[in-house]
């Protein structure tokens, strides 16, 4: 595993969640689950983050926020949908203002279902996400060696 897999910093965004999943995400930081064991830091800043944890479904109000946070994260990055709302829209699916899961706004890499999602499931999803993160870093490094300018252009991402 490279340093990218050993130091995944995450940003958590609460889309249209009932707050159930948010509390579980925060529970991961407590001494009980202690995700800092894996080098994970909860940054509040997309520019520092590698993992994007979204809870809740996407609606008219927050679709642009989700997109903006995603775009502000430098590569390599991985998106994890936490909870069934974030995966598919869940109980809010048929509401008039709901688009659906997070994948209706941005590409999602890992779907972690549950209502509310359990902290163990979040940790499992992050571990799966780390594998993807490693692949992306390898691709980025290889691309950077071939053509530094093009691969590092934010608009290409």
């Amino acid at each position: 595993m490279t340093s990218t897999g050993k130091s995944p910093w995450l940003i958590h965004y609460d889309a249209a969640s009932c707050n159930g999943c948010d509390i579980e995400v925060l529970a991961c930081l407590t001494p009980m689950y202690d995700i800092e064991r894996f080098g994970i830091i909860n940054t509040g800043n997309p520019k520092h983050a590698d993992l994007f944890l979204v809870t809740g479904s996407v609606n008219e109000q927050n679709i642009n926020v989700v997109r903006q946070i995603y775009e502000q994260m430098p590569d390599p990055k991985v998106v994890i949908a936490c909870g069934i709302c974030a995966c598919t829209g869940g109980v809010f699916r048929d509401c008039y203002n709901i688009y659906g899961g997070v994948d209706s706004a941005i590409p999602v890499d890992v779907y972690a279902p549950g209502c509310a999602i359990r902290p163990e499931a979040i940790i499992d999803a992050v571990v799966v996400g780390l594998g993807i993160l490693e692949e992306r870093r390898a691709a980025l490094d290889a691309g950077a060696a071939l053509d530094a300018g093009a691969a590092l252009d934010p608009k290409e991402a």
Binding site: S7, D34, R37, G39, I41, T43, N45, P74, P76
Partner: protein, 292 residues
Amino acid sequence: MSVASFIISLFGFTILAPLAGGLLAGIDRKVTARLQSRVGPPLLQPFYDVAKLWHKERWTVNNYQGFYVLMSLVFAIIAGVIFFAGGNFLLVVFILTLSTLLFVLAAYSTRSPFAEMGAEREIVQVMSYEPMVIIMSVTYYLAVGSFNTNAVLTLGRPIITYLPLVFIGLLFILTIKFRKSPFDLSYSHHAHQELVKGISTEMSGRTLALVEVTHWYENILFLGWVGIFFVWGSWLAVLLTVVALVVVYFLEIFIDNNFARVKWSAMLKWAWLVTIVCAVVNMASLNWSWLG
């Protein structure tokens, strides 16, 4: 400061300080985790973090930010080299302030409201600790008779015996310099405390990696400032200094974990109050002992 000591310090500090500083940060995070009854990250976690940041995509908000951060790092190294070569302490203080101001400029140059807020807080921090640092150099001169840091080696006893209150004042402002709670107003190492990420909000990838490394260099330099209080012309000094550094750093971690962040006005008020009391009483007692 002879040429030989300068060259030794140049290579020694430039190469060893980031290794020691990164390790110190790792120990810090481990001890912090244990104080919170967590397992905590691996000891080498700070190195993984910096290595990861180095491999992130290279974005920059403008063309100057990276330059300012780099120069901030360079001046922090120069300050450390002069200090450990036995050079002029006052010069070290001013160069280090320059390094901090370049870091502030880097944040201001982005025109981001969050980074600017962090930069303003950083300036308040500088205002809070700078008087104590200047007074420390002046009282150092009064006690030793020279601004050169290698002058302590000629003393018969460590300067903590002349400047006990100045040492306490230094400990107080070190909490600001180490960016520890309750005074970590502009940039905190704890999760998600300030407005986005304070002064470093707009820094990412390699720029942020340089910020971390600058911080490691600075921390080692500050430990040098603590250590100089316990050094005198005897081999016992090594032992005493090591013990003092361990105690002081643990105290900083302990304070970090037990105090909530204060408002900037409280920080400024307390820092200046401690500075004035410590400085006046200690300077008076120094003069008294000269008279007597």
